[in-house]
Symmetry: C2
Amino acid sequence: MGHGTNRVEDMSSPNNGTAGGDTIVEIHSVCLPPKKTAFQKLKKRVADVFFPDDPLQRFRNQPWRNRVILGLQSLFPIFTWGSHYDLKLFRSDVVSGLTIASLAIPQGISYAKLANLPPIVGLYSSFVPPLIYSVLGSSRHLAVGPVSIASLVMGSMLSESVSPTQDSILYLKLAFTSTFFAGLFQASLGLLRLGFMIDFLSKANLVGFTAGAAVIVSLQQLKGLLGIVHFTGKMQFIPVMSSVFNHRSEWSWETIVMGVGFLSILLITRHISMRKPKLFWISAASPLVSVIISTLLVYLIRSQTQAISFIGHLPKGLNPPSSNMLYFSGEHLALAIKTGIITGILSLTEGIAVGRTFASLKNYQVNGNKEMMAIGFMNMAGSCTSCYVTTGSFSRSAVNYNAGAKTAVSNIVMASTVLVTLLFLMPLFYYTPNVILAAIILTAVIGLIDYQAAYKLWKVDKFDFFTCMCSFFGVLFVSVPLGLAIAVGVSVIKILLHVTRPNTSEFGNIPGTQIYQSLERYREASRIPGFLILAVESPIYFANSTYLQERILRWTREEETRIKETNGTTLKCIILDMTAVSAIDTSGLDAVFELRRRLEKQSLQLVLVNPVGTVMEKLHKSKIIESLGLSGLYLTVGEAVDDLSSTWKANEEP
Amino acid sequence: MGHGTNRVEDMSSPNNGTAGGDTIVEIHSVCLPPKKTAFQKLKKRVADVFFPDDPLQRFRNQPWRNRVILGLQSLFPIFTWGSHYDLKLFRSDVVSGLTIASLAIPQGISYAKLANLPPIVGLYSSFVPPLIYSVLGSSRHLAVGPVSIASLVMGSMLSESVSPTQDSILYLKLAFTSTFFAGLFQASLGLLRLGFMIDFLSKANLVGFTAGAAVIVSLQQLKGLLGIVHFTGKMQFIPVMSSVFNHRSEWSWETIVMGVGFLSILLITRHISMRKPKLFWISAASPLVSVIISTLLVYLIRSQTQAISFIGHLPKGLNPPSSNMLYFSGEHLALAIKTGIITGILSLTEGIAVGRTFASLKNYQVNGNKEMMAIGFMNMAGSCTSCYVTTGSFSRSAVNYNAGAKTAVSNIVMASTVLVTLLFLMPLFYYTPNVILAAIILTAVIGLIDYQAAYKLWKVDKFDFFTCMCSFFGVLFVSVPLGLAIAVGVSVIKILLHVTRPNTSEFGNIPGTQIYQSLERYREASRIPGFLILAVESPIYFANSTYLQERILRWTREEETRIKETNGTTLKCIILDMTAVSAIDTSGLDAVFELRRRLEKQSLQLVLVNPVGTVMEKLHKSKIIESLGLSGLYLTVGEAVDDLSSTWKANEEP
């Protein structure tokens, strides 16, 4: 049975086939993992962290020509599907492209207003970025353009320092600069393969954050819906609400009537489409239809009343270049970088999540790092062509998907429609009332309040619900970036807390088997006299080594008290099941060593069972295994119990 | 075999005894942990985090009178040993008390100079705090007084803003105020049972930090050893070294000769005592003897040379009250609080580590939270009686232990000796040369550079070594608090990185057994045709759920490629061994669900094996178990393989 012994030459294994008692117990020795140099280990670790998807795998064993093609395909995913693109696919893409354009035009104008930017910037941002994404992006269903959350965050962060009405040029400069830094940050995350950083925004976090932001956005729309002229630029709950009620004299009944009317239409069509996904076109078309009808209405009654405010003149023509407006020095640079990073993270998270959702529905892969580069480059290019932060919008992508989009060509179709609008149709928006834009935003963001997800968090994981509430109330009452930071902090503390106070449980044997399981969970499991079997459910680190040591000693004390009370067999051996100890550091090794020493003083033996590869390696290097003695290490709890009991028996019956 | 089914009523268990193939496979169902309300769970969690030692356990089932006694004992540990204290113990304590006094007096004077404080403050600090500790502290061997690291840190942090020579009163006020806040912080950590926070200073961290600080302290002593008059107040490597070489004209050969002479004596005696612990008294006595001899020497040659600087006049008398010097407003308050917290953490870490070391040697318990309160109250009281930050010193505690100290009475004896010195012997230190103080500090801190520990870190755990180097170079070249912060940050990132990129490994069966182990480690383990068995070695959290999902899909792809190349049996089932998955959150649950969905699309079955209690509970609550179907959950890998293969066989042979 000497298998594996050639790998652990420095540990003789006399455990094999110990013939102590009346039965021969078969014992397997614990192997060390194959030897690797420190460099090999570092290489593997780096590959794990930065290249978990093994991106070069496809290139292996390929002739030179294929490698070039594969390389081009991975840089420009358009080459992957471009070669077998046909008329049938094109027909689907045209239909879906026109559908999302009908959503994108009113939403683009509305979201730009949310970011305190001129409405036309929203249309510019629906033209250039989708074109770039369609070449670089790997999702086939992502509908690219301005989105509500990023618009809100940019608007709230920039307007705290610079007034968008008084300093409009500076404000515009800062918006483009933030967009540039957002893109730079996104592309760098992708290039440096640090995409995993966005994983730290957990879903619980995002549910809370999105709902909080949606509530604020909705409340802000009261400005438009009630026709208030003087409104706060702040984004917290209290100033917004007080602004609504302090300007009651400005409320205009005409605006309110029109707003409530169109809002009801939009909400009803949204409800119908949600009930029957096949009728997606009803909710997709209703914003544009509402814009047209309301514009006509305002045009017709323009001589009767001045109470309903409208957009006014919009410049005609293509995106003007804006690279000369980027702002790389001066006192507001730090603000622009900060805004860029935060809107960058948020829009990236949304874009990737949306991309993954639809990729998973159609069973294709979206590569996170590549998507980051695509979104990043699209924003950097956008910042030079009068666009602000864009990403994949969830609502428009869903419409795109339902409308039957097959490839990124639907984005090209949408961009072309926006182009036509920019070139010829801008004067038509002159009389579009602001109240309809508020109604469109409200309808879009109401869907972001995912109370069902929050309820599920509450039911399944109270701590996740707590994180969710932290970001919700943080965003609502403190501020957007701080709320986000608080929630990320809470998530990280959860991980640290789990590591700092890991669970240990006492195991027993399920009679008639070699299975050892938690005594608390398996009522039929029973203690083995003379043994205390403990499972440690966490890596042993500096942050928990003292705790674990004390906790195991407390288990021992409690077990001894229990034995005394029940007159049981004296405790002889503590078995630590290390299966779930996925790592150990030097403090952990010291703790194991110290634990062994302290147990020895109480004439108790310490036995380790099934340490995983890396742990085994470190136990070996730190010479703890030698100090544990020859019978201190087993592969399974069952073998440890059998071997030790038969040894004890043999010693008793000389 | 229906055990446990009464606890999982909502999951029928038709797995039991599936008679599919030609053999009857015995299958155990996976149990849910006993039901607990959210409140019970929270209570257990809070108890785990804040009361892991179960402090009230001793009070249970005790009559009222005993409870009072136990309560007094736990508040004032002096009651624990006070009642059976006798003459024999007292004799040991007197010997050890006098021995540490002979070390404490010269070290007290020296360390105060290290903190840029008047030398007498060092003696004051060796009088009041030891007395308070002897009543409140639970360690029997801790020798309390000023220590080098905390003195250095306080000196370096305060003198960056306030000059100790020009603003000496303000500097003294800030020192006492910092001491007060250090004590307040320490006591609060203990009271709020947040002691685990100091665990985040890992051993690797401390080795690097201490060595870095020791190097700086040593270099600073060049001032005294070379007799330089004008020296930098900064604490980084570069300004200190340039200060040494820019003032070459001030070097004094008399001072250098005397310094090198006494330094050699001190180092030789230290070496002897380290070689033979029984001769501890040689190194314990040598500082005082050196002080006496050098003072005599300076006194005798005082008319020949003025080159050797000496202490000069020291006030006689007891600690003056200093509560009126505490400083609770004004511009430097933030600095005092920051200095207090950092010196508080450092001195606490040292004190607790020293206490634990000697407690473990004599096999008694030192309660971390209680020690924190003792050290905290001692520093708060100290700040009102002209003392600065004190804690248990490692070097003096080791001498105390070797000299045979039995209880905290040795601290009382030491304090009494210091009292006599303060009252009557102060004039004798008039001619004590500063160079001898530098030599004493150098000898004390050289032992703090634990290069063996650093080498062990390098050998066992490269990442721990990296952390160690971060704090070493951070302290040496950046600054003390920043170096510490960097190192803690690196340690936390290590934990997060481990969680973000957990290990997964492929398992195989060890022939002839029911043992499944890593294929990489156990060469004799072999794959089971049709199965891919993967073990996940980490909790599944938001931070790794995407990674794990992608990684498992990659395992599947790689396995299918391997099968294609070797013409093996088609893959039918992925078994995830969840033994080491110690927790799961909602993102993790979503990932499992999504994984199942995607594998299903490839006609692969997903089976979970042995989820731990909390994970099982969440799987159950989130309805994933139901979606996995009836045969998606097993207790062991062996049972899963046996049951599924026999089912497949049964389906093939109708």
